[in-house]
Point group: D3
Chain length 300, copies 6
């Protein structure tokens, strides 16, 4: 006959002892973590600021709209600077007095980048709208399309990443990854009028550089072909993902790997495996599939 | 030294001014939007009605089951007609007095389509069950399989779409897209006994026509090959996606594009790129992959 | 003029009558169902136990950490045994007196497997960290990477599945599937140091056997090529998925089907369709894509 | 310098040791407790059943109203029998096999008393309406008056108490006490057309017997004058509270103590201290207050 | 053996039949009800507007404070006009087209009264602060004192009541009654600098008129002594509560009844029963209690 | 025709201007406020620690109980020290660097007082149980009686108050006041075995001193008779409330005022107005009410 208390106590004791591998992984900082649920709230305030006419009703007068934007701005600042402080302390415990003011400074830097982020996101809405015969109006894109969430989170994360804030950018893009299937690394550089259609399975790597007016479809990978290891066996973080120039379209499920360049105005077909640079204006298509009749109904 | 108030005020002012592109995107209607969270609640009531024995316990007597279905029906009607009214006002502000009764009328039309939707969904459950050796009982399919959520949302959205209700159908299918990775356009026509296995990355375009007993696997795209632009540069919405006849199976990650026909009783293998019609009974397979030994361990 | 009450009553009556197909699907058991929301809570307690230093702050002293682990353990046990009881009753209504004690016994068996599950999960964290040049520290992996959620849910589900608990394992892996796009069947066997990168669209079938140090990328399918039907037309559940030996890497969007063996130390490139066994040390690459210039700008 | 860990651990150890008085108080049963939040939910279902036209809208057709009542009934039964089972186990751990069926039996007994409870509550609404010149319609009484919550909880608690269910009746009346300031013991017997106005501070003791058409005001106590102790020093539970006959009114802040009888058609004024029986038709008033002019402004 | 289904169905049928008394109570209007939870939210927005420096932090700059007030104002207007519309329809179903604009008009009237309400509430805070030796600062009064909630709800309810809005005023004051034990009828007229200390059990009737600088303590009733009935037996709503002139203090648990006048600068002691007018400057005290020694320890 | 935007803007402008009285009330500190909802959570952790066997089930083994207490302790410390820091900053903005460590120090002081608070609270449970013939077991007292919440909040608040923490003590006792109608000032000193029965309307002033084994009933006020004003017109905070010696009982609705002493073993009857000291062993009763027959049925 099993004694439940004995089992619970024995396993509590066992699991309270740290594994060697666990000790190695302990955070270096002073035990602060950004809060995922607060970061979700921050994204809502940013959307309120960027798309004020689509996320609430009855706001016509511009003074009243300013109240709404101003209040969201103040909440954004108040929450973001705390999360940035947690993120700074998460990776560094050496200079704790400075973190509070440093976090406030970087939160304000981010707020100063919001007008530019807004401009870029409206170009993305425009590009998505122009690319989809099934859409009737812009509101449908802003309200319904997962790709918008992916792009909001990416453009915010990218802005935070280039000012050197750790951890938060990746949490933001993984939140979008989880709800859209679109995985854009915060370090990637993406130009104006960027459209992703459907999007599930898209991967855009850390060192990608993407020009203006680029369109990609579901399942497209812009990835690394290989990587070097440093002395500790950990991969070296060097440019290793594609450069996609202006006006390129890449169709569904294609895989583009390595520090290659896809020249401007090229079209890459679907299900393509591409590891070499291609010149401007290229058209790349898959070979024809062969056809056969199988003798066995259940076998493909 | 930065003054936070100054930064917040400056950016509030800047972001309160509408961009030109933003003005162009303003909703035409009178500022009404369907509520995503209410639409989620509506789907729960529909599931209560369709699968009453699987979503609650202890209901054996049929009179008591009727109470449960009837109460769900009344909540469904009460919520749905308000959301339809919001959707009608979202795209049109001309004839506001009519919208309330028009929305009630269309909500009742939808309710009259529920028995047919129920029948179709049970054929889908049957098809998924028959297709998966790993499943032990129907309850597991209904309770656990994301594809069921995708099919409930799609079949509801399709019914609303054909009665001309804007915006809501797309929100419903995008909700399912977000949680399942399966992106079915509400406009697609899908027959009985439709099975998707695994499903992540499936895309089914707006003008697809799919027969009975069709099975598709993860990563399959039934998409458009190209599209024409109208005078404003916006794509023209014409039939441009495949017709899949009865009894077809399409394996993982294949891409079927354009207004082509896959003849009945065909099997399309995985990772196929197909842009031509194929006759009934076809078997399409990928060419063999080549093998090589790379001299460099880190390179593929 | 439509009478709403009449429509609601008529459809309630119609939908309260069971379809023939619906009767066939009725649960065999006594109307108990595991609760999805409680299962989500259970996963949170398990994460608290496995990663105590990453999911809360300020816990340095090991006695205090034990409180946290012990409290989570007790809640886990209290919730899990009820859900196991529901699952047992869901599929069997014959011997109801036994289920309560049987559920407690299996919940304790699971708790006894937690130290081993913890060890395996830390090898997965290590493997993911070593595989990704973009990651800065282990905490980022544990806090942000969806693949961690997929592996926690899979390893828990696998442990529950091998002790014969119905329904719950599949619900757990489908929860992870929904939020990560990674679909691992609870029946699959997976060794130590297993890494999935990006992950959206990955499918790992029920009878897969995967060795140590295996890495796979987004869109990879380890599936079945075909299956036999039993006398009732339901597929037979036999070994039908690949065996992947130690130290294998499979790149994005490849499809590996059937009871084949990928020999140890092999590398499978991206977008490969593989249905034959390959010997140890193999390198499998896709044929080169062909290039063409299309005369028509809108056609691919 | 204080070490927080040391303080927390020391006090955890100290507080984990049971006091002697604590051991004496340990529950006799097997560790089951009714859930206060579920009991709140149960009261909501009962209100739905009793006042269906006031707690939801648009229900005119009686068939649809039946769905609403029937669904509430089923939820009520499902929740109530579990809470009754917890209550039975809370006070008795001897005969555990019987509790589940016994709890179901008593829950059904309670449901059979609902039509009578409904009739009584409507007489209370009528009496409150007739007693208050400030009220415009019955809906205002049902929606806004705390006394209605006090009477719903009391009448439900009384019905549960007379079938011998422990603990739950008192929790229900204390919930109402907390939100209304009206403290009616579940054991009190109260006739038809009972009105309390304002109500804060009203206390009605366990062995009170109150006739029809009785009205009392805020701050009225119907209490015990004294009590005898049993051999353990615990008070003996015998009839010790007043009997109030039909058509009596008791004004604000009066205190009526002991097993006395206030004869029918009597009026007791405010701020009265009454410990003797009074005959039918009595009028009891306080002596006149005296008046004085104080020489000191700050002293009363 | 009881059949649960039979009991549930039988009682559902019984309870679905309307009692005669129930039919009489049916709402006259078209089935609309104000929402209690929305009214609670409305009170929060009003508190944000009235006490902006106490209900959030970090707001120093007056422009930023305006954003906060303006956003709260817009939400207040948007919610309040809907609840007013529900309230108007609750009591009248004759002229439904007019209600929407009429509700908007009255919501704006209320908003125009907010500056005056704010001024009055600050005088109440001042009076409470000045009356309590135990309080250290104004923030403690605004944050902690239930009487503030009672006064906010009363002053808002009074403003709504004098513009003729039904039902909502009473719900607001009963919400405060429930959480503070202070029951102020929305119809009462109360001057500036009104202080209630402790407050539990205070009742202030519908036709009270209270001057400036009045202070009352817990348990004080300002009530009606009697009332006349109209032809239907319903009480007639005429002036029947006291007039309390400026600078009066009434101590704990006193009861002041009828249309009498308590002259300015009077002090009414505790536990007084007062049914006659008293001239300005009166001092009213209770007679001395008598003392006795009881022979019986248990009897009082 | 009213323009809503104009009304909202005009009133926003008006309400954004600070009243003179508002400026005077501005908090002196740096804009920090304790959070009421966090303080509620803190009380829950304290109850978990004090009554571990009554607030959860299935905890028998003392090691497992320690986990529960230890985890609650850690959460308590983590939340409380932040709230204390907010409270310190609320009233003082001069020495901000010190507040964090000072708050931690005082939170630990409070935790060191928990064993003593626990002992006192168990004496209160015992006293309430012994005083109430209607109660069956201790669990019913701990689970259902509002007076327990009042005593938990008071004893915690008193402990915090004597270590000089501002604002929080009063918030805690006002929370209990709101849900129980019992208003005990945190400054009052209360001995062991303190029982309040029913409790609504009880007021215990700041400078009260109450001995052991004291019992009081609903509506009892232990208040101040008068107070002196300081030079600013604010009342002076000196001893002004009663001293109640051991073994005293005070019955319902009595008012005891001023710095008087009620000698040990006295009994004060109900509805008594007492402003003089009484010697040990006193019995104080109200004069008999007079009886009359009123000629007018509607007049009292």
């Amino acid at each position: 006959m099993i004694n439940p208390d004995e089992v619970l106590l024995r396993n509590t004791a066992s699991l309270s002892e740290m594994l060697d591998i666990e000790k190695k992984m302990l955070p270096h900082g002073s035990g602060h973590f950004p809060s995922v649920s607060v970061l979700k709230e921050i994204i809502i305030y940013i959307k309120n600021i960027i798309f004020p006419d689509f996320l609430d009703q009855q706001r016509k007068n511009s003074s009243i709209k300013s109240f709404f934007i101003g209040t969201s701005m103040e909440r954004l600042y108040s929450l973001l600077r705390k999360e940035i402080e947690h993120a700074l302390r998460f990776t560094d415990n050496s200079l704790s007095q400075v973190f509070e003011s440093e976090a406030a400074r970087r939160a304000l830097m981010f707020i100063d980048s919001l007008p530019e982020i807004k401009k870029l996101l409206y170009t993305d809405v425009e590009a998505i709208y122009n690319n989809d015969p099934a859409v009737d109006n812009y509101g449908e894109v802003i309200l319904c399309y997962p790709v918008i969430q992916a792009m909001v989170n990416y453009r915010v994360a990218h802005s935070l990443a280039i000012s050197g804030i750790p951890v938060i950018p990746r949490i933001l893009t993984e939140l979008a990854h989880s709800s859209t299937g679109i995985d854009i690394h915060p370090g990637a550089k993406i130009g104006r009028y960027f459209a992703i259609d459907h999007g599930t399975g898209v991967v855009i790597g850390e060192t990608c550089i993407i020009g203006d007016n680029v369109t990609i479809y579901q399942g497209v990978t812009l990835g690394a072909k290989n990587f070097s290891l440093d002395g500790n066996g950990h991969p070296v973080n060097i440019p290793r993902h594609p450069i996609i120039e202006d006006n390129v379209t890449i169709y569904a499920n294609s895989t583009v790997l390595g520090r290659i360049t896809v020249g401007h105005d090229s079209v890459i077909g679907g299900n393509i495996w591409l590891t070499n640079s291609v010149p401007p204006g290229s058209r790349i298509l898959q070979q024809k599939a062969m056809e056969k009749t199988s003798p066995n109904d259940n076998e493909l």
